[in-house]
């Protein structure tokens, strides 16, 4: 049965006079990998950050497995949740940031385990066991006692992925995970993301790596100027785009129509 | 039956005299501090002799880790006992000036070190002598860099003039205490004294803030590297 894990409906976001999101709507099935692509400023990151309410949408609905994210109350009593109230909901959503944001005063294992202990109520041993397991998944178990500053960018990002996985989230969000990495380190991170996708995780990936999106994502959404321009199966949108704007964008980033690699 | 209104002008007049003395102390000390601090800093940063740097470090550390009050007592009472009698005003100016020189030495040293070494090199490369390089290229930039710290020092100095009351310098707190014993309007007198200090310090801080903003707008340190 097709079960919609995530429903996004009519997402709007304005900063003062500037409208960044002008009505974004899409679904995500469980186990599906969705990629958001588009030029800088198109609103893809903002859209992603709205999903776990790091940005508060101006209007629109986000529903994760039947639960409304970020808003509470009903009718006239409806209001935005506070960060405190949002914490349990955010546990269900794992986020990986472009700049990793590993916590420098904690070693790798503590980075991965902290939230399990302080927000997940786990005992330290349990949390550490889980952390080691997640670090295994990203092939960095041996670095568990190191501090982030001693790791390469690619390694740090993989630790960040392990940290998000340790939440046992329903949904994983990746906000341009490789954009801040030196080129030779990009591959190791993409490799891990591909493994997660093949495992059947539900993921939304904002990325500039178009070929990777085509190979790994099930569906792709092309965004521009705060709206969804085109949406469909990854190969279709990227290799046979139907909209002119999509074609123009892909051409700019070096993906001609029919290019397969 | 004296009312507040009757007595206030008298209070303010006397405190105002004290303010003039405070201004004199601040001006004198600032001059010593500025010139002394600058000279010390230049020597400190550009000398090759470790002994000289140690000597300057000893001076600044002593001045900065011992309370100003102790320095004033030393100059006023201490020197008097060996025959050198300084007036309260002179002792205050020298004492606060010497402490200030230590503070500004640290400030200017940091500023000199922060200035890109290429600035000085470029100046020498176009044929300026080291002294000219200092005068026309290095110092102007250092002064701009350190303006916030100098502003802090200036505000602090004005406040520190109050310490001179302990060696009977006729400044604001000195008059305030005398007034209290003669009129017993204690809260009113001290409130006036505090208000007077605020009235002096706030404009000084404000002036420096404006100066900083104006210099920043006039094309700060931008491409000067």
């Amino acid at each position: 049965m097709e079960h919609k894990l995530l429903k996004v409906d009519g997402l709007h976001k304005s900063y003062g006079a500037a409208q960044v999101l002008r009505g974004i709507s899409f679904d995500l099935k469980r186990g599906e990998t969705l990629s958001l692509i588009g030029p800088s400023g198109s609103g893809k990151s903002t859209c992603l950050r709205c999903l776990n309410f790091l940005e508060k949408p101006t209007s629109g609905e986000i529903v994760l497995e039947g639960e409304r994210i970020g808003r509470t109350g009903s009718g006239r009593g409806e209001r935005l949740m506070t960060d405190r109230e949002l914490a349990p909901q955010r546990r269900e959503i794992g986020m990986v940031f472009q700049l990793f944001y590993l916590w420098p005063h904690l070693n790798v294992r503590d980075n991965v385990a902290l939230a399990s202990i302080k927000a997940g109520g786990m005992h330290r041993d349990e949390a550490y066991a889980l952390a080691d397991e997640m670090l295994d998944k990203v092939h960095l178990r041996r670095k568990a006692d190191e501090y982030p500053e001693r790791l390469s960018g690619g390694q740090q990002q993989r630790v960040a992925i392990a940290r998000a996985l340790a939440q046992k989230p329903k949904l994983m969000l990746f906000d341009e995970p490789t954009s801040a990495l030196d080129p030779e380190l990009v591959g190791e991170v993409l490799g891990v993301i591909r493994e997660l996708a093949e495992e059947g995780r539900s993921m939304i990936l904002v990325t500039h790596e178009i070929r990777f999106a085509r190979d790994v994502a099930d569906r792709v959404i092309f965004m521009d100027g705060g709206v969804v321009v085109e949406e469909g199966p990854a190969c279709d949108v990227i290799e046979r785009p139907s909209m002119e704007r999509t074609r123009a964008f892909l051409g700019q980033v070096g993906i001609g129509a029919g290019l397969s690699k | 039956m004296t009312t507040v209104v009757d007595i206030l002008p008298h209070i303010l007049a006397l405190l105002g005299d004290g303010a003039l003395t405070a201004a004199q102390i601040a001006a004198g000390a600032a001059a010593i501090a500025f010139v002394g601090g600058l000279v010390l800093a230049v020597v400190n940063v550009f000398t090759q002799l470790v002994a000289v740097r140690l000597a300057i470090a000893a001076y600044t550390e002593w001045m900065r880790n011992v309370p100003a009050l102790a320095h004033l007592f030393l100059l006023y009472f201490g020197l008097a006992s060996v025959g050198v009698r300084l007036t309260p005003l002179a002792a205050a100016i020298v004492g606060l000036g010497l402490v200030g020189a230590a503070v500004l030495c640290d400030v200017f040293s940091a500023g000199l070190r922060a200035l890109h070494v290429g600035q000085r090199e470029a100046a020498l490369a176009v044929g300026l002598t080291p002294l000219q390089a200092l005068r026309f290229i290095v110092l102007p930039q250092v002064l701009r860099l350190t303006l916030p710290a100098i502003g802090n020092y200036a505000s602090q100095l004005v406040k520190d003039t109050s310490i001179a009351s302990a060696i009977a310098a006729p400044e604001i707190m000195f008059f305030a205490r005398n007034l209290v014993t003669s009129t017993f309007e204690t809260p009113l007198i001290y409130a006036s004294a505090i208000a007077l200090y605020a009235a002096i310090v706030l404009p000084v801080s404000w002036l420096f803030a404006r100066l900083e903003r104006r210099l920043a707008a006039a094309g700060g340190m931008g491409g000067a590297r």
């Binding site: 986020m95 944001y101 916590w103 | 030393l74 008097a80 809260p187």
Partner: protein, 230 residues
């Protein structure tokens, strides 16, 4: 010259015990003032970051006012002025109060600088991982802020230590008052004040040095961290 130092030999036995006792008073006085400054400073920072505009303005006004007034004026005003309102405090506690109030303004600045130095992405990552704002502050932001705040806080304590000497003028039995008394008792102001200067130096200098070393070590560490994403 030797005669100068000979005098210390003669009187050391009498002077040193008195000064050591007084030094203890100075140390506790400034410590209590510092604790008060920390508490008030934290309150000020909280007030500065609140949504309530009135609180923000009150905090800003307080800081502006305190920074414009000399400590001595504050101490004298409290010591001589409070009795008129029915509150007579001994010099020691007026000192703690005055040092705490003045210190709070500076401490607030240091605390603010430390918190601002922590990249906001750190907090975001913590919230995204499901930590409550309080937990995020406790386990992610504060530990990192502490490293930045420690050297300036040490400097603040040294400042308070020096400022405690002003309490001599409100009849508190600390180092400076003791020195003043001894100087007139023995008619040896030069020797006594140099000695008391050494006492202050002996307490303050190690702390200043610590602060400087810490700042250098933490500064180096942070530069490495900075290149690997904050």
């Amino acid at each position: 010259m030797i005669a100068f130092f000979a005098i210390y030999g003669d009187y050391a036995a009498e002077w040193l015990p008195r000064l050591v006792l007084a030094a203890r008073v100075t140390a506790t006085l400034s410590l209590l003032g510092f604790v008060l400054a920390l508490v008030l400073g934290a309150v000020l920072v909280a007030a500065q970051r609140t949504h309530v505009a009135a609180l923000r303005r009150a905090a800003a006004a307080f800081v502006q006012f305190v920074r414009a007034v000399p400590l001595l004026a504050l101490l004298l005003a409290l010591y001589f002025g409070l009795p008129s309102f029915g509150l007579t405090l001994p010099g020691y506690w007026v000192g703690v109060l005055g040092l705490g109030i003045q210190g709070a303004a500076y401490v607030a600045e240091v605390l603010r600088g430390g918190l601002d130095a922590v990249h906001r992405g750190q907090r975001e990552a913590a919230l995204a991982a499901g930590l409550t704002p309080l937990a995020a502050f406790r386990f992610v932001v504060l530990p990192q802020a502490m490293r930045v705040m420690l050297p300036p806080l040490l400097n603040a304590y040294v400042s308070l230590l020096k400022d405690s000497s002003l309490c001599a003028l409100i009849a508190t039995d600390e180092l400076m008052l003791t020195a003043r008394a001894m100087a007139s008792e023995y008619f040896l102001p030069l020797h006594v004040f140099v000695l008391v200067g050494l006492f202050y130096f002996a307490i303050a200098f190690p702390l200043s040095m610590c602060s400087r070393l810490l700042a250098r070590r933490l500064g180096r560490g942070r530069r490495t961290l900075g290149t690997n994403q904050g």
